[in-house]
Amino acid sequence: MNMADLLWIIVAMPFTIFLVLAFLGKKLSANLTAIIAISGTGTSALLTILLGWSFLGSPPENYSLSSHLWEWMNAGGLITSMSLRLDALSLVFIFVITFVGFLILVYSTEFMRNEEGYARFFAYMNLFIGSMLILVLADNLLLLYLGWEGVGLCSYLLIGFWYKDPANGYAARKAFIMTRIGDTALIIGLFLLFTEFGTLNIADILSAAPEKWASGDPTARLAAFLLLGGAVGKSAQLPLQTWLPDAMAGPSPVSALIHAATMVTAGVYLIARTHTIFELAPLAQNAVAIIGATTLLLAGFSALTQRDIKRVLAYSTMSQIGYMFLALGVGAWSAAVFHFMIHAFFKALLFLGAGAIIMVLHHEHNMFKMGGLYKKLPVIFWTFLIASASLAALPVISAGFYSKDLILWETFASASGGTQLWFLGYIGAFITALYTARMVFVTFFGKTKIEPTQRPGLRITLPLVVLALFSFAGGFIELPHTLGHVQVFSGLMQHALPHLEIRDVAESSELVLQIITGLTSLIAVGAAYVLYIRRRSWTDSIRNSTLVIQIHRFWNLGWGFDTAYDTLLVKPIVYLSRINKNDVVDLISLGLSKAMVYFNKLLVYTQNGKIRWYMATIALGAILTLTISILL
């Protein structure tokens, strides 16, 4: 069987399951629903592994496979086909999407067991995974946009899954509308690319762009900024990041799926996919790096002040995606994708772990009411610890160290990066380790405050263990020069993404920087240990000064972005619409019709059905006409 033929099956499986569950969901028993729900993505994951195996074993020509399914539309010069294209970049993405997605689904079969709308949940999840697969496998931008919107729709459906609580519906709408702002920029960018190139095929555009545009061309810059707008919305970066913390309203597996495998990484994928355009627009690429660096810091500080364990993780996702943007912005394409993969493993694990904790503690989200769980829930504790180590980038032993260190070092070494950006990322790394350690210490150590009443079953723990394995071992496929020098991942990526040019001066400093970042995360963990285990009184005394309380509140609310948007945009619009409740513009046409009705009523009086009255008017009219004709 031809390898390329597997592609459409991988995409079609989740959609088929979606259709089955959407139409038959209510008739199926819960067990059958669970089996059907995981089978589709499971098959896709298996096929992906099979495909990846043969892809890596005997690489196809140009390191890409394409499969033309059918012509989608052909109108006015726009020829769009339903074609899938697999290269090294999308291979990594579909592996993460199907594999992590599958584990999340397995977990959900137990987690969502007693929820209303069991089948509905899995239908949405499968649609979500399917849309994301379309997004990353699309060979043209329009098909990519289809997946893009599908992902947006599913995030809306899933964040608002518990729709009976109006707050969840609000969070869902917020996510949908905020990402839609970015989507609008993206579709305008697509229009621009189409008018410039006459095609939306990604490979064609990328090969034609360097010939058409010189570096720094204004059109290229505009296109890159529009694409960036779309990426910023979906990936929850500044300034469209406010939807992500509220997206925690959905069930925990949804958060895991949104944050790890799908949705927020779409922006990273888009920028990596259209990297040529960004390289031709250095200004836009710089903007990517600056947005990433700023977001990772802002989100890091916000994560430091959250009490809800899921919100800590939400801000942490924002921050980690910020790292990916930073890497994309300095041209460290491969490092960004590497961090995406590692992040997908440990962040999915963290969310699933947090979800399991919340479940056994009766929907308690506040981690300061948890504590002492390391003995009660050993499996969750150890897996959570491994993932946290990755997030905190503990040196040498964790996968996150290798990916984050790669980003930091390449940021430092890149010609378009430099010391300032590196320093921002470095501060971010310290903050990350600090809030991660805080989360772990507060949740698992100290006194037990709530007794867990139930133990998570095998279907919850097994995905955790598998993900923990990947969070631990995933890093060893790409080791720096200083530590073993393994380049499996970047070796694969170089077929899809350009190599990073490294400044000469930076070469020698790699080891020093690694030691510095490694030590930093250790120091941060130590600081958290002192502040949250040893000397709780210190924390309390720090917390008592007014300035700290103010800053704490400010960070806790995500730097006041919600308030700012509310005051600057929402309130004026609501005010204007309240003034314009009766629609000023409509008054013209409404007034016209009202006048017509009025005159109509007047004329109706003349039609009284009395013949003498008609005669009188005829006579009157005749007299008038005669008078006028005589007088004039």
């Binding site: 009284n608 009395k610 003498r612 006579a619």
Partner: protein, 102 residues
């Protein structure tokens, strides 16, 4: 033979026409309204006759013949309608037939 001035005949015709018009407007009995219409027709016919005699042309008289025949036809149709009207409304009051009001 005394020549009757033109104005006299015209005034007579106008008076006749007005009589007919006023009758038409004030009478509610449809029979009288028909008669008023006849008076108005005859007033118009009178003007034709007077004009024809004043300018010694036959056209006016021809016109009068036309009016006369038209009037007889109109009376035939009108009377038939009145009979039908009476059958339907059991009265000759035109105000009873005001169903076509807007």
């Amino acid at each position: 033979m005394v020549e009757i001035p033109l104005t006299h005949s015209i005034v007579l015709a106008a008076v006749l026409f007005l009589l007919g018009l006023v009758g038409l407007l004030t009478r509610r009995n449809i029979l009288f309204m028909l008669m008023s219409v006849e008076i108005m027709l005859n007033a118009a016919g009178l003007v034709f006759i007077v004009g024809s005699s004043r300018w010694a042309q036959a056209d006016g008289q021809v016109m009068y013949i036309f009016i006369l025949s038209m009037a007889s036809a109109e009376v035939a149709v009108g009377l038939a309608l009145i009979v039908q009207f009476y059958k339907k409304f059991n009265t000759l009051d035109t105000d009873a037939a005001s169903k076509l009001k807007g």
